[in-house]
């Protein structure tokens, strides 16, 4: 019994938390509104709402024994009763105090344990002084309050999970419009998520069903052609001995007719089933998607208070205007958007809008304005713009900070366009520099904002004019779950690339690809864009696969190379793939719980065939490409450097391991020569200029140890690194290897290519 009661209390407390937060939200948005329009005809309604909410919160707090919260609410209620009944105006100080009280309550709600009311005595005393400052609380006043208490039904929070409620928060935010009366049911999202999965899964059944219908239709056609063939036989003249055969044919024909008829019936039935099922599933998935779409105001409710508090703390006057808050967006996107939007608003207040004095100096109004606007563009994308009428971004300061942190070379400063310099503020490279953070503060925060937006498959840009203001534009998909993707094949693996990032798809002749400083490039709109092999960047260099696909490639698509130009921000990179197959509407699913973050992969989608295809995270992929360019030293950002291709000698008596190693190294971009034993290797080493030797140990004529010793003893060759790759796993051998001076020792059984490449990277 005890545990049951405890559990009930726990549930009750959890319910209280949710309920209390809602009351707090309504109260604080009400306060903001009230402070903005103190003498409005709406204000009476607002005061009434705040009063009621404070009262409800008090009741709720009492039912879970939170006397601490209850006592503050009591004072708030008293205050607002007075404001309500006596048309009593609150001053800015009063508002501050009430906001503080609300913040305190909010903090107390999130703490599970009830505090002694001592802690809040000071606060309560100050709150009391609001009403006392004018006239002392009379006995008459108190009795009035208690009358109100009696009028309102005591509200007890329901422990049930489903609560019917009027959308009071919506009423407040949309107060200027006439509030719609919406009946709502509260359902935990964890119950909705599987429903959504099930709905999504039905799409696959729909696709499968379509396929089955087509299959059956094919059987039907097959029977038809079979019949035709038989008819041809029938018309031939049969000899006496063939009579029996004719009989068989007749019989078969009858059976075939019968089969054809029954298949035809099934085909028709299936086709009509498929149509109605298809429509049902589409409708269902659509409705499910809508269930997960929430209006913007569910996350922006807190913004007016945030802006108010921040502005106040910095002695600035800022008005926040929010437009399009009724626009609905996928819940998952909404959740991810809260932080970036908070960052951007903070930036507007911190750095965009200056103090009233400074603003008046340049003939602006003392109060700054921030406009947060949500619009739907192209019917499926959400555009968010955040504009301030502040000082604008100082381009020169941004550029000089970028030069200081080394992101931009001094010589290139002249070449930077305004647009490019604005893009610099999103670079994390700059942001980590304390300098830029000091100058503009638009540093780390903006890099994170960009990251988040890009992760959601969106784009961010900024416009700014000195002393007129700054506007950030964000474009995001409205629903997370579906977007269009390009299906590509690389090294026998399939991937989807979000079409959002695909600037164009190219099939080019080999002649069009130019090698500049050892890096393949192509000219697009007079810009030289580097080409990377998708499989290289993803690390898909399975030897067998690479070989196989190369062969197939040569045979089929002649000398055309398939390229995808991907763009992210103002960066463009070209990726080479084996094949570009299709463009699909895809449903992106999260990778499993185990795979929290996988480099270069953002999720996966399921094809009609049931095959799972990973979806590329373009933002990661571009970074990986740049990293690989930097680590192999082949290409700087836009500036290409001369690069040395390392020459490596591979020594092994087994042709299999020789070509395996050769292949791995060549794919990694090394120039490889081979030798069959130590003796041959040593001759080659003496003749050619190698940067490294990879050698087996057990070989005829001269083994790996002897070869190493010889190389290390040679005056001219002494510095040449030697890597021993061997099947021998004994400690003595390892020690022997070290003794003769080998630089690394890799055992074949633990041999994998990344291991070898790592070692090579270290040595070269």
């Amino acid at each position: 019994m005890d545990t049951k009661e405890e559990e009930f209390l726990k549930r009750l407390q959890a319910m209280f938390k949710i309920e209390a937060q809602e009351h707090i939200q309504v109260i604080s948005s009400g306060l903001i509104e009230l402070e903005k329009n103190p003498q409005n005809n709406m204000s009476l309604e607002l005061i009434e709402t705040i009063f009621r909410e404070a009262h409800s919160l008090k009741g709720a707090a009492r039912s879970v024994n939170r006397n601490d919260i209850e006592s503050i609410c009591q004072v708030l209620e008293t205050t607002f009763a007075k404001v309500k009944n006596e048309q009593w105006a609150l001053t800015a100080e009063h508002f501050d105090l009430i906001h503080k009280a609300i913040d305190t309550i909010s903090k107390m709600v999130s703490e599970a344990v009830s505090k002694t009311s001592d802690d809040n005595r000071e606060l309560i005393k100050m709150l009391r002084s609001i009403t006392q400052s004018d006239q002392p609380v009379t006995v008459k006043k108190l009795s009035k309050d208690s009358k109100h208490d009696a009028q309102l039904p005591a509200e007890v929070p329901s422990a049930k999970e489903v609560v019917m409620e009027k959308k009071s928060s919506e009423e407040i935010v949309q107060a200027e419009l006439k509030p719609r009366q919406l009946e709502t049911v509260r359902i935990p999202t964890e119950k909705l998520d599987p429903l959504f999965l099930q709905a999504e899964q039905m799409i696959q059944s729909k696709i499968a069903f379509t396929q089955r219908t087509i299959d059956l239709k094919n059987i039907y056609d097959f029977v038809g052609s079979w019949k035709t063939e038989l008819r041809k036989l029938e018309t031939r003249h049969f000899t006496d001995s063939g009579l029996q055969l004719k009989e068989i044919i007749n019989w078969t024909n009858e059976k075939l007719d019968e089969t054809e008829r029954s298949i035809s019936t099934v085909v028709h039935a299936m086709e009509s089933d498929q149509r109605s099922l298809g429509r049902m599933i589409d409708d269902h998935v659509d409705s499910m998607k809508k269930v997960l779409m929430l209006p913007m105001f569910t996350i922006i409710e807190v913004f007016p208070k945030l802006v108010r508090d921040l502005a106040r703390s910095q002695g600035k006057e800022v008005e926040l205007i929010i437009l399009g808050k009724e626009i609905e967006v996928d819940k998952r996107i909404l959740e991810e958007l809260k932080d970036p939007l908070t960052h951007l608003l903070r930036n507007c207040i911190d750095h965009g809008i200056k103090s009233p004095e400074e603003r008046l100096k340049i003939k602006k109004t003392a109060q700054g304005t921030i406009i947060l606007k949500f619009t739907v563009i192209d019917g499926r994308n959400l555009e968010i713009s955040i504009s301030d009428d502040g000082a604008g971004i100082d381009i020169d300061k941004v550029i000089s900070a970028a030069v200081k942190s080394g992101v931009v070379l001094k010589d290139n400063v002249e070449k930077i366009s305004t647009l490019e310099s604005f893009a610099l503020i999103f670079k994390s490279g700059i942001s980590t520099s304390p300098l830029i953070t000091d100058i503009s503060g638009r540093g780390l925060g903006l890099a994170i904002v960009r990251e988040k937006v890009e992760k959601l498959g969106g784009k961010i840009s900024v416009e700014s004019q000195p002393n007129i203001g700054t506007t950030f534009h964000l474009v995001l998909p409205q629903t997370l779950s579906t977007f269009r993707g390009v299906l590509v094949k690389s090294a026998e693996h399939f991937f989807f690339i979000p079409i959002f990032n695909v600037e164009r798809v190219l099939r080019v002749k080999d002649e069009e690809i130019k090698t500049v400083e050892n890096r393949e490039t192509i000219s697009i709109d007079q810009e030289i864009v580097g080409i990377f092999k998708l499989s290289d960047i993803l690390g898909l260099n399975d030897r067998a696969i690479a070989k196989f696909s190369q062969k197939g490639h040569k045979a089929s698509s002649s000398n055309l190379t398939q390229l995808l130009v991907l763009s992210q921000g103002n960066k463009r990179i070209c990726f080479k793939v084996d094949d570009i197959l299709d463009e699909h509407q895809i449903l992106v699913k999260e990778l499993s719980r185990q795979l929290k973050n996988v480099r270069n992969i953002s999720g996966a989608t399921v094809l009609g065939s049931g095959k799972v295809v990973p979806v590329i995270n373009v933002s990661d992929l571009m970074k990986s490409a740049m990293d690989s360019a930097l680590s192999t030293g082949k290409m700087g950002n836009e500036i290409q450097l001369a690069v040395k291709i390392y020459k490596i000698l591979v020594v092994d008596d087994s042709i299999t391991s020789r070509s395996l190693i050769k292949n791995i190294l060549e794919t990694a971009g090394y120039d490889v020569t081979t030798a069959v034993d130590g003796a041959e290797a040593f001759t080659k080493v003496l003749a050619g200029e190698f940067d490294l030797v990879v050698s087996d140990i057990d070989m005829p004529r001269m083994n790996g140890f002897e070869l190493t010793a010889k190389i290390k003893k040679d005056k001219k060759l002494g510095e040449l690194p030697v890597v021993l790759v061997t099947a021998l796993e004994s400690r003595e051998d390892r020690e022997h290897g070290i003794e003769v001076g080998a630089d690394a020792y890799i055992i074949k059984s633990s041999f994998d290519q990344s291991n070898l490449l790592d070692v090579l990277n270290k040595l070269l």
């Binding site: 999965l197 899964q201 499993s592 973050n597 799972v612 990973p614």
Partner: protein, 199 residues
């Protein structure tokens, strides 16, 4: 203990058969008696079951030449592996991902995690989906032997060093060489969670 149980179960069966055979020629009084005896015989089994307190239910599966087991408490379902999609850039103990009714599940190859010799993917490969509140993934099994209850006392926990398998993955070994894995520790192993954040 286990043997006793089986024995007593068999005895019950014999008793039951005896009373059943008399049934055909029984008077009402005798019938009542038989019914009571039958009830008693059946009741014994229940009593027996409640007596075995410290039991765990396990699912047994083969991995290479060894037989392993995990507690069914951590098993969400068993799924036949038809095909899977490998992902680039992951540690080799992650085979890839599969689609189970619309949900993507990653597959862990225990042989790689335990450094056991690989013997290729056969047609009988099954996925055992393990889960707790925080984690969920499938483990690859060569084939599933079934589920049964074993007594905790029969699990030898002192013998927890197996070649290749780190001891925190092991719960214990039974006298018949069944290796019981510690599903909880495997699920909560930090190494298992892939979080490749990019700078």
């Amino acid at each position: 203990m286990k043997n006793n149980q089986i024995k007593s179960g068999q005895e019950d069966k014999i008793k039951l058969q005896e009373v059943l055979s008399v049934n055909e020629v029984a008077s009402p009084e005798l019938k009542r008696k038989i019914l009571r005896a039958r009830a008693k015989a059946l009741a014994l089994e229940v009593k027996d079951e409640s007596a075995q307190q410290e039991c765990i239910e396990i699912i047994e599966f083969r991995l290479g030449s060894e037989t392993y087991a995990v507690e069914t408490e951590f098993v969400r379902e068993v799924y036949l592996l038809n095909n899977f999609t490998p992902l680039p850039g992951l540690p080799d103990f992650i085979l890839g991902i599969i689609n189970i009714r619309g949900q993507i599940i990653s597959i862990v190859d225990l042989k790689k995690l335990f450094n056991l010799p690989a013997n290729g993917l056969g047609e009988l490969n099954k996925i055992i989906v393990l889960q707790n509140e925080k984690m969920e993934f499938g483990i690859l099994a060569d084939f599933i032997l079934g589920t049964r209850s074993i007594q905790l006392t029969s699990v030898q926990t002192s013998y927890t060093s197996m070649p290749g398998i780190s001891s925190e993955y092991l719960k214990g070994v039974t006298s018949d060489h069944l290796i019981i894995l510690n599903a909880k520790n495997i699920l909560e192993d930090k190494k298992i969670l892939i979080n490749q954040e990019i700078k």
